[in-house]
Symmetry: C2
Subunit: 212 residues, 2 copies
Amino acid sequence: MSEKTRIRRLPERGVEDREKINEILDEGLVCHAAYVIEDRPVVIPTLYVRSGDRLLLHGSATSGLVKAVRDGSPLSVGVTHIDGLVVARSGFHSSANYRSVVVHGQGRLLSGEEKEKALDVIVDSLIPGRVLDIRRPTASEIKQTAVIELSLDEVSAKVRSGGPDDDPADLMSDAWAGVVPFNVVAGEAEPSADLRHGIPTPDYLQPYSRQP
Amino acid sequence: MSEKTRIRRLPERGVEDREKINEILDEGLVCHAAYVIEDRPVVIPTLYVRSGDRLLLHGSATSGLVKAVRDGSPLSVGVTHIDGLVVARSGFHSSANYRSVVVHGQGRLLSGEEKEKALDVIVDSLIPGRVLDIRRPTASEIKQTAVIELSLDEVSAKVRSGGPDDDPADLMSDAWAGVVPFNVVAGEAEPSADLRHGIPTPDYLQPYSRQP
């Protein structure tokens, strides 16, 4: 299947592109972060949020990713949304519709006040309003958690949308052609079995959405 | 947010784990493949399918990923499904429900008959039955496409499911706790604007599903 992608590369591609990139990043919840250890790549999924012109990656303080950042490994971080299956009249032109962003750079481990602030930003970016409803993190919790800051300096986006782009010679084919759209749907919030009686589902979860 | 993961590592963990891993892989459409170039990691999203005990990664013959494999870079490939947002009574225990598989290894570029066969496998794994409905790929199309085989020897899976796992001391909190489930929903197949009159939507697309 062909890679019918419109590639947009930053830096210095103007506000429109940066807004599109931010939109893609803000819709995600989990990124795939790649690092290098002993000349080998390792990719892992991890929670992240975008905050201004940086990503904040969330992880366990003892994870391989965090160790690699501490040891100076550069990072490559990918976020992808699959929007549909493009069913063309040939295998070659069949494809997927998607929006993806890849960020490269040197991660920085946050500490102290900066880290505590970032943890609030992560919670409040994932669930706006949530920080006010929960207790503060303890010193031990903060110690067990790592936050990696990755600036959005070196970032590129690829987007494919729309229907199949078939060869003119294939248009008389008997094969069906089109797109199967995919959507991520957030369902109704399911209360925990041990939730105290009389606590209503908060407004920020009904409905929950990663789209603006 | 905490990493509440049950880690299952292969090889030799028995059929049950391998079946679970296959299930996770079969539900996906796009993986994040990481390679190393000049000591730096690069991650890119790309279409893949599982076929037996290997992944088949699909790409353009001129892509950086394909060049890296040709140059001997090892690969790390991640596939992740986000099943929900775990809303705990603390930031620390808040998390995501997910199923993810990571595969490590040396990719092998397929060629000749093996490659042509693999292209059929890719099409028919993405859309079972489709190969019979479309024309054969041309020699030029096959040349422009690369198929990377990656064996499932070195593979691990992480799964988090269920509700929040709060500290006992937090259970009396006034904060709501539970899970917001996420589902990927395939919509109705949308015919191409240039689809010839009278070609019905094929059965294999109504409905389309990546789940067995």
